[in-house]
Amino acid sequence: MKRTLKTAFLATLPVMTGYLVLGFGFGIIMRSEGFGIPITFVMSLAIYAGSMQYVAVGLMTGGASLITTVLTTLMVNARHLFYGISMLDRYRDTGKAKPYLIFGLTDETYSLVCGELPDIDTVHTRAYYILVTLFDHFYWVLGSVLGAVLGTLVSFNSEGIDFALTALFVTVFLDQWLNTKKHAPAIIGTITSTACLLIFGSDSFLIPSMLVIALILSLYRSEDKSNE
């Protein structure tokens, strides 16, 4: 158990960097827009979706209607549908912790639980999932509250530190690439998203990308046996 704790903690270090910084940034923005610490805390605890929370600040200050808010959330967070679909099996027997694991399935947590797990035996897989989810959630809430409380006091130039998350996804991408012989899905995902980005623009390319990726992967069949 102690080893699982250590493994999980080490795995989440990149997310810690990213979440503390992005959470901090969120806290600063909330404060500068006149929101209190309690609402910042509750948002990070209960919504727990980084980019959506940044969007939410704009929605609230702009007085967006409830319908607009719901539709925007659907658009921004639709990619999470994919995480659930690919975690159905892995999270099947996680017992009482399952609702929490599903709730905490952010981009970053997904990147840590979707691939080959670090060197731990199967008995501790569930503990690993739970710990990674808890650690990540904690970093995000902590970062946000610190940002809301201390935001104005910090003068460290942190510009560019959010690149940690990009770097995280790049390493996970490479790690997955090295651990499989079937590169078609990775190539399909990358090319489709790039094409949709060029066609639809950076604000609205995610949903078309998801639809096209799902369509192509459904039709793609050649090597789907060795994967289970």
């Binding site: 719901v70 549908l81 690149f163 790049v170 789907d224």
Partner: protein, 108 residues
């Protein structure tokens, strides 16, 4: 802005976000077996999604000016090459991030 409006908006976002995350499990987790197509998607999606997330992170690159894309490309290359060489995620991420910060703060 009144308090009630703020809390209502936050509640709506929290509920919709959770609903999206729970939907696949709610639909495909009854007693019946998961359809083969969904199983197949579950096996291949992680690879495709990670590609999509990398593109998503780089979506704001602009090729109209050198500082709009070179820091990202150089830093991604640093992350990638270092990872292929040492196979250490943390080392790659920290080095790549420091490299990116130096580039955007001091060079470009």
């Amino acid at each position: 802005m009144n308090e009630a409006y703020i809390w209502l908006t936050v509640a709506a976002i929290a509920l919709v976000t959770a609903a999206i995350r729970f939907l696949p499990f709610a639909v495909f987790n009854g007693g019946r077996k998961t359809p083969r197509l969904i199983e197949k998607l579950g096996g291949t999606l992680p690879y495709a999604i990670m590609g999509m997330l990398v593109v998503y992170c780089l979506k704001d690159m602009r090729f109209t000016a050198i500082e709009g894309f070179l820091p990202q490309l150089i830093s991604c290359a640093v992350v990638g090459i270092l990872y292929l060489w040492r196979r250490n995620k943390l080392l790659s991420i920290v080095t790549g991030t420091v490299c990116y910060m130096l580039l955007v703060q001091l060079v470009f």
